[in-house]
């Protein structure tokens, strides 16, 4: 498979040349394969947000380069702009970016900036709205009349409507109730399945990442600490907790069960798998 985004020796320093210069991302290199669902985790201040803003050309690296489909973002002015449309970035608390008179117009803002035709814009808005479960009557409302969860979904639709090849979401479930979290995660998964786009999910919630992501990238102190399949990353629970990160709660329960001598399986990090495994044990099965 080919890499959609490849990051080469990326370093970012804030306040370059000033006494309070701070290295946020430190000589980081990795590739993101097409179609992957990557969970990006890390402690607060580990450089996640800074890293993510380099992937669509919002921030310029102090050193190193970011390539999209093999070409540098910073090749020309045009390519910087193109990067914004190829890599859709949805910030934390995106509901604060809503500004238009109607939800429909707001979702259309991105596609409009892409200079698409009127019908194409309308088509994309309709598709994006259906992905996030907004009904036609919602579209005619002012975005400020929506509930908190609906606002969040409208804002995410605004990024989805650009139909990016890579969709990056920074903490899309922050501040939502459990049901809202599931809704948002499901709609991201649906979007990924039907468009085949690559998704990067920045999250603090190990449960969210375990449920959704196929690969996990762990940032620690500006460096990539781990980048591997989800199971392999969560198997390294001790290293994670040294970085101030947790493994999903089920994994913790299972490691305690194992210590107590029960023959439970390794690599359990979602509730669904845990249920399966316990069911298997109760039927008298043996550990895999």
């Amino acid at each position: 498979m080919s890499a959609v985004i490849s990051v080469k020796n990326l370093t970012h320093r804030y306040n370059e040349g000033l006494p309070h210069c701070h290295v946020a991302v430190d000589n980081v290199s990795f590739d993101i394969e097409k179609g992957d669902f990557i969970g990006l985790i890390g402690h607060t201040g580990s450089g996640k947000s800074t890293l993510v803003q380099h992937l669509n050309g919002l921030m310029k690296p102090s050193e190193g380069d970011v390539l999209i489909d093999g070409k540098s973002i910073w090749e020309s002015k045009k390519s910087v702009r193109a990067a914004k449309f190829k890599v859709g970035l949805c910030f934390q608390y995106p509901e604060y970016q809503l500004f238009e008179e109607t939800v429909e117009k707001d979702i259309a803002y991105g596609p409009k900036n892409m200079k698409l035709k009127e019908e194409e814009i309308r088509r994309r808005v309709a598709i994006a709205a259906s992905f996030v479960g907004l009904k036609p009557e919602h579209l005619m409302k002012s975005p400020f009349e929506l509930s908190g969860g609906e606002k969040r979904r409208a804002a995410i639709a605004g990024v989805m409507a650009m139909q990016p090849e890579v969709l990056i979401l920074d903490e899309p479930t922050a501040g939502l109730d459990p049901k809202g979290r599931d809704t948002v995660l499901n709609m991201i998964e649906n979007f990924r399945k039907s468009t085949g786009c690559t998704v990067i999910l920045v999250s603090h919630s190990m449960e969210d990442v375990a449920k959704a992501a196929s690969k996990v990238l762990v940032m620690n102190k500006g460096k990539v600490a781990m980048y591997d399949e989800t199971e392999k990353v969560f198997a390294r629970a001790e290293e994670l907790s040294e970085m101030g990160l947790n493994v999903p709660q089920v994994s913790k329960v299972f490691s305690i069960l194992r210590q107590k001598g029960l023959p439970v399986s390794d690599g359990i990090f979602t509730v669904d798998k845990a249920v399966e495994d316990i069911a298997r044990l109760m039927k008298g099965g043996k550990a895999k």
């Binding site: 669509n56 914004k84 859709g88 949805c90 995106p94 970016q97 500004f99 900036n113 400020f144 990024v159």
Partner: protein, 271 residues
């Protein structure tokens, strides 16, 4: 761009100026500014320049930071200088071409204006560099308190000032965040004519208003939860007190003031 705003910027330190009573600092700053505009001779303006630099030295604020506060004024300063050079007539004529005249008095006035504006900005920014916004508003409240006789709600006014200052960094942050979010959706703030550029700001201004109003409501709730009632009978944890050094500063400024006036009398006036 928005991060260049230096209003209300405080430079932590423990200099003589930092330790002075804020009320005295405000009064003396005003006095010095009046002094600056009283200058008529070259010697008195030299005194003002010397005093300004002495103050920078005493404050311990790096020269680079002080100069940063003048930078946004470069255009205004240049504009005033040019206007004065061509409009003021008097003294000997140095240059004449059709409607353009440059006279010695015009040149002097322009020079005085430039020096005055720069000194004024430096001295008043030293005031904000050495005084925290909260102390500053406390001082203003205390200075304006005689107006209470005329039923002017001094406390409410200064509370509004405190809050406005407090929210500058919050709003700067917010502008940054919203701008990035809209840029990620392909907003283009750089190309196009004036009309396009103004239109491009709508996606920033609307969310900014919405969140400011939200902040205001939340703040009002938080204040009410702590039983804030329009400042009636409020006491302070830190009482402001004039001390010995404040009177020394007063004396120094009085001497400078007298010096400027004496220089005006005994040396040749040029403007």
């Amino acid at each position: 761009m928005i991060k260049d705003i230096t209003i209300g910027q405080y430079f932590p330190g423990n200099s003589f100026l930092h330790r002075m009573d804020a009320r005295m600092k405000i009064v003396l700053t005003l006095a010095l500014i009046v002094g600056i505009f009283l200058c008529r001779s070259l010697v008195s303006i030299a005194v003002v320049v010397a005093v300004t630099f002495a103050l920078i030295f005493v404050s311990g604020v790096p020269l680079k930071m002080v100069l940063k506060s003048i930078k946004p004024l470069a255009i205004i300063v240049a504009f005033t200088a040019v206007l004065n050079i061509f409009y003021i007539r008097g003294g000997t004529t140095l240059f004449e071409w059709r409607f353009l005249h440059i006279t010695s008095k015009g040149l002097f006035t322009a020079f005085f204006m430039v020096v005055r504006i720069i000194c004024l900005v430096i001295i008043s920014s030293l005031l904000t560099y050495t005084t925290t916004p909260t102390v500053m508003t406390d001082a203003i409240e205390s200075l304006l308190s005689p107006l209470k006789i005329f039923k002017i709600p001094v406390h409410t006014l200064t509370m509004m000032m405190t809050l406005a200052l407090r929210f500058i960094p919050v709003l700067v942050d917010e502008v940054d965040r919203i701008t990035n979010a809209q840029k990620a959706r392909g907003a283009d703030f750089d190309s196009g004519g004036l009309k396009e550029k103004v239109k491009a700001l709508v996606p920033i201004i609307v969310p900014l208003f919405v969140s400011s109003i939200k902040h205001a409501f939340e703040l009002a709730d938080a204040m009410e939860c702590r039983c804030y009632v329009d400042g009636k009978g409020r006491t302070r944890m830190k009482k402001m007190k004039l001390s010995f050094k404040d009177f020394i500063a007063l004396l120094v400024v009085a001497v400078i003031f007298a010096g400027i006036i004496l220089c005006n009398i005994y040396f040749k006036k040029v403007v």
